[in-house]
Amino acid sequence: MFMSSDIAKPGTTPERHIVQPTDAQHPTVLSTEGLHVFYGDKEAIYEGDLKFARNQITALIGASGSGKSTFLRSLNRMNDRIATVKGRIMYRGVDINQPDIDVYEMRRRIGMVFQRPNPFAKSIYDNIAFALRLRGVTAKNKLDEIVETSLRQAALWDQVKDELDKSALALSGGQAQRLCIARAIAVKPDVLLLDEPASALDPVSTSQLEDTLLKLKQHYTIIIVTHNMQQAARISEYTAFFNQGRVLEYDTTSQIFTNPQVQVTSDYVSGNFG
């Protein structure tokens, strides 16, 4: 029985087990230090210090309400207006949680894709060109080129290349979500945050999305929140397990799924909580 009050018995297994990535080929790009997130008086996250390795996929797993989405949204300060985020969020040596950071410039480097595919009611082309035009890119050939490469990277180009003027709302769920990824990578971000990107998709679209992410890994550092543990196991190098606002366990994905150190993690990944 997995209960909210479950804490492993002392002496048997550790209460927390955090192993930060130390792979020299994949240095840390983003990390949190002393991160605390409050919704009003309620503390949503109080122990969530993680380091994220470059060009790797890190999965954040945990039950609903465990704080993983809140954590993810804090990383590019999408929570600024609804929550208080304390602590440091270090991005390549700079604390981006300072008040005088230009969040708009920061979000160009740390992009985000949401749970629900959310294309704008514009054409496919205009969706991808949106952020570029905001930054003053107007040259048609430049836009054309970026739209094409973004769609290719998101594995959508072959399906939509003849109908770039069509409304993005006409796309299927899986296509729309890949469009959102293409839109996010059009500004060439460094880190890509994905908040349960496959939860509204059917299995075929999900698998295509996962293939896309595995290819994107070469260019981007990917942090993905997922409810689907097989998905985490399939695509990620590192996995963090969230429980009640804390990261209880963080290690390589294979460790988390084959040899979890914390009892609660073990119960969760083995589905032993019903």
């Binding site: 160009r108 949401f114 704008f120 009611a121 514009k122 949106f130 996010a184």
Partner: protein
Amino acid sequence: MTKSPEQLEQELKRRSKAAKLEIWGRVVSFSALILIVAVVVAIIGFVASKGLATFTTNHVNLWDFLSGKNWNPSLTDAHGKPEVGALSMIVGSFLITVLSAIVATPFAIGTAVFMNEISPNRGAKILQPVTELLVGIPSVVYGFIGLSVVVPFTRSVFGGSGFGILSGTCVLFVMILPTVTSMSADALRAVPRYYREASLALGATQWQTIYKVVLRAATPGLMTAVVFGMARAFGEALAVQMVIGNAALMPHSLVDPAATLTSVLTTGIGNTVMGSLQNNALWSLALVLLLMSLVFNLIIRLIGRKGRLQ
């Protein structure tokens, strides 16, 4: 003890209290519907029959009525035809409607953006009651303020009598502002939150998000809001009548006395005899008003349908 099928059937077919109540409910709501439809049909029928009498009984040419510039139903012109040219009033009505909508729209959308996007808390606390209060002020009060404040102001700035389209626009603009504002706010509120999030996550600033995403997505709703405001302005009688000067002449400037369809109706209808040409001509103006409000309604529906299709 089990019941026989006959007993069970009888029990199931018996009209229970709940079933009777259901029939009652249907009868009541259906009769309400019939009554409303009947009233609307009766009004349209009555106005149409009276308004068309000018052309059928009094043999006024429809084109002369719509394009004639002289309005003096009790006199006849050189050819012996009655002077019932409604063009000046039609122009007056349209001018005042369009002008007040043009003035009101930026204020309304600006206020709606503030209420929804920039400061939702303060917006809800202060602006909501203010707009509701503005809707609740009777039009005679607006007219009176227009008469005692706006008209003298126009007079001192632009000269002339102060009565005219400009004063009417000033009054109407304030009158339609709350309608347009609250409907614009509704339109912005209907834009899904994930549009804003998508835009912000792409690094757009809040203003870029409002301008490029929220306002674009809300355009059909905003247009509906403006047309609603225009419909209200077009039909407003009392306040306009008090400040426009009521001279059924072609408006040559915004500060000359003019007239609208409504102002001529309210000033004239009490001074004519039922069945006379003078009276019928006023009914024709009412018919024009009615048709115009139908057109406004049609536009609103068309915009709404287009918005849904997007």
